[in-house]
Symmetry: C2
Subunit: 161 residues, 2 copies
């Protein structure tokens, strides 16, 4: 399959959103997606973008995306974070994910960051083995904690502030 | 103990750095801290800050910090991330960590974010129980993956690009 990887532009928003939705549907979490294409356009392609995105495409179709932004480590300073690496189900097993990851690593290197980070599900053994093979550190002793909007409101309502 | 919580200002940088170092030494990871107070000053207190920080202080001393920044969820849009919550060893057990967390949750609420996230070590049972008690979701099925500077260089050197 012939595809190229390039930085996303505003005209890619519909395709980017399509892949985000496809993955959420696959994970039976479609309702959790409250973002809209308009949010993505505004947040990613305005004057001070909140993320950067790479797309893998054939002349006909966008097959995958990698979406990144900067985080801040109190030990390392600015570090690059890979939030989402999505390859459309119809295009998996062709190495597109690996090529997108390479693009992200080149991007991080060009920015001079001291670290690139991402997250992986614990059951995804092939991915974990691949990441360790390329020299990444898979930290099994940290849990991700999330307090959603309802939790935020409940916490503040119950709290003597 | 009488202490107040407020937003950090540039003059707090030395104290913020001191707490970051104290924690790294406690974790026997002092060498991993490559950031300098000057980096913190530039990154946190310039025209477009890369993080925001809250400090807990007595008239004599800064006892704790909470350092946050925005991340980007492809499902929720901008979300607030709590990178570090540090309370000096000499001031633990007085509820300062909880008060700093409350300040972070109020801050997230004022920004209207759909989620506040952070990470916790899997052996830190009291913290995990506290987070679940306040309604946070502790996700045990995600691992954090990190590729450091040396790994980035090695990956790119070995790769046909």
């Amino acid at each position: 399959m012939n595809y190229t990887i390039r930085k996303a532009v505003e005209a890619d928003v519909a395709n980017i959103f399509g892949l985000i939705e496809e993955l959420a549907i696959f994970e039976k979490e479609a309702d959790a997606v409250i973002i809209t294409p308009e949010d993505l356009r505004k947040d990613g392609f305005g004057a001070s973008p909140k993320f950067h995105c790479f797309v893998a495409e054939t002349p006909e179709d966008v097959l995958g995306i990698a979406l990144v932004y900067m985080r801040y480590s109190t030990w390392k300073g600015e570090v690059l974070h890979l939030e989402d690496l999505i390859v459309s189900e119809k295009a998996r097993g062709k190495g597109i994910g690996g090529k997108l990851l390479t693009e992200v690593i080149k991007f991080g290197n060009s920015l001079g960051v001291k670290r690139i980070g991402w997250e992986v599900l614990d059951w995804n053994t092939p991915a974990i083995e691949f990441y360790e093979h390329i020299g990444a550190d898979v930290k099994r002793d940290w849990h991700v904690v999330q307090l959603d909007e309802e939790g935020i409101e409940r916490y503040l309502a119950n709290k003597e502030l």
